[in-house]
């Protein structure tokens, strides 16, 4: 637990003060490690020159490779200050003091000398400049750290709970007599100390001590077990949420997406949705999957959806077109380069299968495999990602039924496919049967596509998929 002791300086004589110190008492925090960034320039402490300590092996000079802090930052003892390098050894220099960094003596890549000042730190006037002395505050520990870091120069053995108890009561651990094994300080020792001070017998706090589970172990084991038995925070203490908002600039690919999506929404979209009965297709795919497997290709539903879309586009070529910027001309694209939206670590990527109009379902499947493995390896090329004319987005693999997809310029239509669900439906004889139902949601550019065209295309696409044998009639 890291605590920044912040006291008002009004009662303390300081060496070079020109300002009144203004501190906020609520800066006392008991949660994870905090850096306090003070925005007002307050000076009420002594400037100490922190010298670069001995590296070992007779080394006298090192190169400064990275600064972890800058002038004006607050540091606590044991915080990392910089990284220096000497002859294949990288050394992390940590702060010996709590305070504010006032000066960095070296720039990056400069040579720093052992024994010479590295940084100037302004420390609290109330603390002495005794480098090797015992320190009351424990070094910063996050929930992940389960160790007791040795306090410089003085080994005080105590569990985190006991330390906290001591800190809460302003007790120096070095003044408490430890009665535990190896002079370890126990909770009882703190309470006894307090009792002596206040002249009263304090009631024991509920379930404060953490019991080591391993009988052979002589110390406190790692925190996973500790956490389960941690002391609940007393209700009287105000609940402090120390999370901070985090602002980052939008760069690279995301910046490009912002541009594209902003352009996309200038297109007047209209939507059209429908339900497809894939019962027959599911069966067909089951039969064909092993055949494709033998040829080394993984067969999903997408190749069928893509091929059916291409057959539909042959009848309704306006859906495979592009409108120019001035909305004066429509270009009917000859190739059906059907894009398939892919979810990768980076986000939404849309590689496309080129010339679907001359590909067989197997060829489409094979190409999809190639694009998928390149996509997951982050190795798609510019050619794979450009030149698309129509897009299908299989959001159903993640979930959902209906969607409102956004058209990707310069295209004019897009389809979002929901997940396949098993639902009861009526057949021609009025009987209920188990149907494999998938929903499709189309969006199209209403400037050049009308509802009827979209509906007819969708019906045609639907009929190919509901009755796959009919695809055979129109395959080229």
């Amino acid at each position: 637990v890291c605590i920044h002791r912040v006291r008002s300086c009004s009662g303390i004589q300081f060496i070079k003060s020109k300002y009144v110190c203004v501190f906020d008492k609520s800066a006392l925090k008991f949660s994870h490690q905090q850096r306090l960034f003070r925005t007002s320039a307050v000076s009420c402490g002594q400037i100490v020159q922190f010298k670069l300590s001995d590296i070992g092996e007779g080394i006298t000079e090192v190169t400064v490779k990275e600064w972890y802090i800058k002038e004006g930052d607050s540091v606590s003892q044991f915080d990392s200050i910089c990284e220096v390098q000497s002859d294949k050894a990288s050394v992390t220099i940590t702060s010996r003091y709590d305070g504010i960094i006032r000066k960095l003596h070296y720039n990056l890549d400069e040579i720093a000398y052992v024994g010479k000042p590295l940084v100037d730190i302004e420390i609290d006037a109330s603390k002495g400049v005794s480098p090797e002395e015992d320190v009351v505050e424990t070094p910063p520990m996050s929930h992940e750290e389960h160790t007791h870091q040795e306090i410089k120069g003085h080994k005080t053995l105590a569990t985190p709970a006991v330390r906290r108890l001591a800190m809460e009561n302003n007790i120096k651990l070095s003044e408490v007599v430890g009665t535990g094994k190896d002079n370890r300080i126990l909770k009882e020792d703190i309470l006894n100390y307090l009792a002596k001070q206040t002249g009263a017998i304090l009631p024991p706090s509920p379930k404060a001590e953490i019991v080591p589970p391993l009988p052979k172990s002589e110390t406190v084991p790692a925190a996973p077990k500790d956490r389960a038995r941690k002391i609940p925070v007393p209700v009287s203490r105000p609940i402090v949420f120390s999370g901070k908002d985090k602002t980052e600039p939008i760069t690279g690919f995301h910046k490009a997406m912002v541009k594209t999506m902003s352009a996309a929404l200038k297109i007047p979209h209209f939507g059209y949705c429908d339900e497809i009965d894939l019962t027959q297709l599911v069966q067909l795919r089951e039969e064909l999957k092993p055949v494709a497997q033998i040829r080394g290709v993984k067969l999903s539903f997408m190749p069928f959806f893509i091929k059916a879309a291409s057959l539909g586009l042959l009848q309704y070529p306006i859906l495979n077109a592009s409108l120019d910027e001035s909305c004066q001309n429509v270009t009917y694209k000859a190739s059906h380069n059907i894009g398939v939206a892919m979810d990768t670590e980076q986000g939404l990527i849309v590689p496309n299968v080129k010339n679907v109009q001359v590909c067989s379902v197997f060829e489409i499947a094979s190409e999809l495999n190639r694009l998928q493995s390149l996509g997951s390896a982050g190795q798609l090329g510019t050619n794979d990602l450009s030149g698309g004319t129509f897009t299908l987005s299989n959001i159903g693999t993640i979930g959902g039924t209906y969607a409102k997809p956004v058209i990707l310029p310069p295209e004019v239509a897009i389809g979002a496919l929901g997940k396949i669900q098993v639902l009861p439906r009526f057949n021609g004889k009025g009987e209920v049967f188990k149907a494999q139902i998938m929903n499709v949601s189309w969006s199209a550019d209403h400037r050049i596509i009308d509802g009827a065209t979209m509906a007819r295309f969708s019906n045609l696409w639907k009929s190919y998929l509901e009755n796959p044998a009919s695809m055979l009639l129109d395959l080229k």
Partner: protein
Amino acid sequence: MVLQASLKNCLQLSCILRTPKAGFRSATSGSLIIQSTSDDVYQNLAVEDWIHDHMNLENRQVLFLWRNSPAVVIGRHQNPWQECNLRLLRQKNIKLARRRSGGGTVYHDLGNINLTFFTSRKKYERMENLKLVVKALKALRPQLDVHVTDRYDILLDRHYKISGTAAKLGQTTAYHHCTLLCNADKFVLSSVLKSPYKGIKSNATPSVPASVKNLFEEDPSLTCEMLLDAIAEEYATQHQTDHHITLINPADETVLPGINNKTKELQTWEWVYGKTPKFSVSTCFNMVYKDSVLDVKVDIDIKHGRIEVCNIDLPEQWLPPAVCSELVKSLTGSKFCPNETTTLTATLLRVCPQDAELQSRWNLLCENMIMLM
């Protein structure tokens, strides 16, 4: 490969590794020899981090033995573009890792063994460790001509480097690790450690190339297991401890709490590429377009692995200035990474004027830019 290990030692280890620094007592204050069961470079580097951060090495020392599947490991302050052929690494699926210690770039595969000597900061002594290794090798094969140089390399036959060294010093603990070439793929090694990128100006620590040789070439009866065993034996003797090698699983959170977070951190782009010291790329390339050859000059400043400043000098009007400036604006702030640039430029293309000529020029320029990364 399983060397001597016992269940009893595994349990003992979990007690040892789990108990915090203020923990251990004389009962188990001997030195420790541990070996990783994983060949994943990130997991193994994470174990080093964990021991460095969490173990009390005041009264004990640890020897950690590990091997990795093919990977290139660069030093803390190095520039991967300068050190290796990133394109080849991606093609061959060879991992790239940045370690926390200083020093130069090495290629690891299962024919290379890694040794890490953990000590307290005061007891940090690289020469002693390397002499231990040489002693072990000579005990195994007395006829081997191996010696330690003052650059902390181990040379075979006075000429070939078989081991490189690096170290990390922290507040209270330190480690020194080194490689040892037993039977690594020298062909892959030399091809991946040759950088094809031109025009890089950087203050990053450069590697010093050296001729290497495998111990296997000197004596084909040698295997990695034999070397590991010999070194462990010598270590055990010198540290007066049992010659027991305890196996540890670098994915086991119960033995190494917090290890998986360390592993993840080592795999992030921000660590591997983002920690590259500021550098610049000034180069030119030729583009063949239709019947002409164009000269393009490029100047890029990269900080934290991201493009800070980008200048592309194209023949006038080859691309409309608005389009060119859009490209430069989008590249600024984005990662100096081929995948990022590919997806970025392909996405931007959607909002560019839709004429085929323009688009093919754009694609050509972008592909060439991506080749620089």
